[in-house]
């Protein structure tokens, strides 16, 4: 892209599950763990949409959660704008997390069912003392507008909204704290096709209008094809192919990529 340094750099990320210091382990020797993320490295440039594709068990969700340390990686380094994420503590960590917001897959579980939309959005702004958050109504309706939802949604509870609307609220909540990176973890996978396309366009809008970089995780290659500039294909914890989306999909190098492409139902 441009000559500037990448916004997010991940290097040598390893996350292993099953390493437990248990009596059983001591009796039988170390239990071999299962590497959900096995030495993964990638970069994310400013204003870029990077797709991460892979089937279930590929480690893509675990990788995403390592980036903001929802899950603590065992090895590797993560740098946001040069700052070491893994070494951060307390307020520094909070600030780094603020800059990398996640949107989850399940629209029915990603919002607090007991909180109105407006409360949830306002809370996010208040906790981080975002500019404009003193004016609750203005702040909330600005966010809702940004995700193309009417201001009347602010008084609703999540259960009164459809899946697509909830996801928009989830995006709005992420935007409320002013992130530079959005991590969309299968954010459209649970939605109907026509709503999915609406959300995809929303992500593209956010990149164009706000300049946020997006890590877009999905298992459907077609969805990645619609939004991602570059793509990284994951398989069993490793990145097996990476490159501009068109190149990766038209002339795949790795056999797994080929399999994945072939399996895609084509009319």
């Amino acid at each position: 892209m441009n000559g500037a340094s990448p916004l997010l750099e991940a290097e040598g990320i390893v996350k292993e599950f099953g390493l437990r210091r248990s009596r059983i382990e001591m009796l039988h020797g170390t239990l071999p763990g299962h590497r959900a993320v096995d030495d993964v490295s990638f970069n994310l440039d400013r204003g870029e949409i990077l797709g991460i594709a892979g089937g279930s068990g590929s480690g893509k969700t675990t990788l995403a959660r390592c980036l903001n340390r929802l899950v603590e990686p065992d090895e590797g380094s993560i740098r946001l704008d040069g700052v070491d994420v893994r070494a951060a503590r307390g307020n520094e960590l909070r600030e780094l997390r603020r800059r990398m917001q996640m949107v989850f897959q399940d629209p029915y579980a990603s919002l607090n069912p007991r909180m109105s939309v407006g409360s949830a959005l306002h809370e996010a702004g208040r906790v981080h003392q975002r500019p404009g958050s003193e004016d609750r109504e203005g702040f909330v309706s600005g966010l809702l507008d940004r995700v193309h939802l009417p201001a009347s949604v602010a008084t609703r509870r999540p259960r009164e909204l459809s899946g697509g609307q909830r996801q928009r609220v989830a995006v709005a909540r992420a935007l409320a704290v002013g992130p530079e990176v959005l991590i969309a973890d299968e954010a459209v996978s649970a939605l109907d096709v026509s709503i999915q396309t609406q959300l995809l366009n929303l992500f593209l809008d956010l990149r164009d209008e706000l300049g946020v970089a997006i890590i877009f995780i999905a298992h459907q290659l077609a969805v990645i094809a619609e939004v991602a500039d570059r793509v990284a294909i994951m398989h069993q914890g490793r990145i097996v192919e990476t490159g501009p989306t068109a190149d990766a999909f038209h002339s795949p190098q790795d056999p797994y990529t080929v399999t994945l492409l072939a399996a895609h139902p084509q009319p």
Partner: protein, 291 residues
Amino acid sequence: MSTSEAATRPLGAVARPGRRARSRPATPVIVGAVIVGLLALAALLAPLIAPYDPNEVDFLHTSESPSWSHLMGTDDAGRDVFSRSLYGLRLDLAIVLFVTYVPLPIGVLLGSIAGSFGRGVDSVMARVADVMLAFPFFVLVIAIIAITGPGLKGVLIGVPIAGWALYFRLARSEMLVLREQPFMLATTGLGYSRTRAILRHAVPNLWRTALIYSTLDMVVNLLLLASLGYLGLGAQPPDAELGSIIAGGQPYLLSAWWIATLPGLLLVAYGVGVGLIGDGLSDGRLRSASA
């Protein structure tokens, strides 16, 4: 209709297509609420509606069977059983409310904290709760009363100490599940403090189960209270308390059955009423959870 309006039309109670609308009124809850409501009202208004002073003895009219002047008859000291029952109910309900709803928030809060932290903190707290729960509830309360001495003070201290562990466990296990929910993970991602995550996000989703359980707990506690009274460990004479009234009427079961039986029926009515409410609450939750 414009497309944007269609997108934003308020959805009302039936949000997702296919979700069932509630077609039947919640009859058990209403019946239960009515029963409990009447009892509570009677207890509240006891000073106003009790025909006699509960402790007023009248040795000219001992052990009289129920009549219009004494709705539930009189006991061996000539005291009006109905008035005593009303005052007894009043005392019992007040105590039950206290001993049920003091441990509830404590247990829920501690359980949420334990579930949220996990590991060491959780281990310690959970083991303490396990120890409390390992003792039979009743035995534990009596042990505490043995320290404090018989009387209401012992009950008010003993039952919450024994009772918090159940709410702790309920809240803790729900918390262990809840903390994996995306909206809880989001609170970490959003940089919210743990305090905020627990108090503002987790607890509002946890306390309902505890509330449903507390209806059962209230029945148990009332019976516990009455049992303690019966044993002479709870409310002390001459205080009117349902358990002690029943105990006092026991020797006369064959001759003056009304002394023990009629107050006992009040206990039964109370148990049925609270049970119906609890059933109805949990049924409603199950129905909406499965939609």
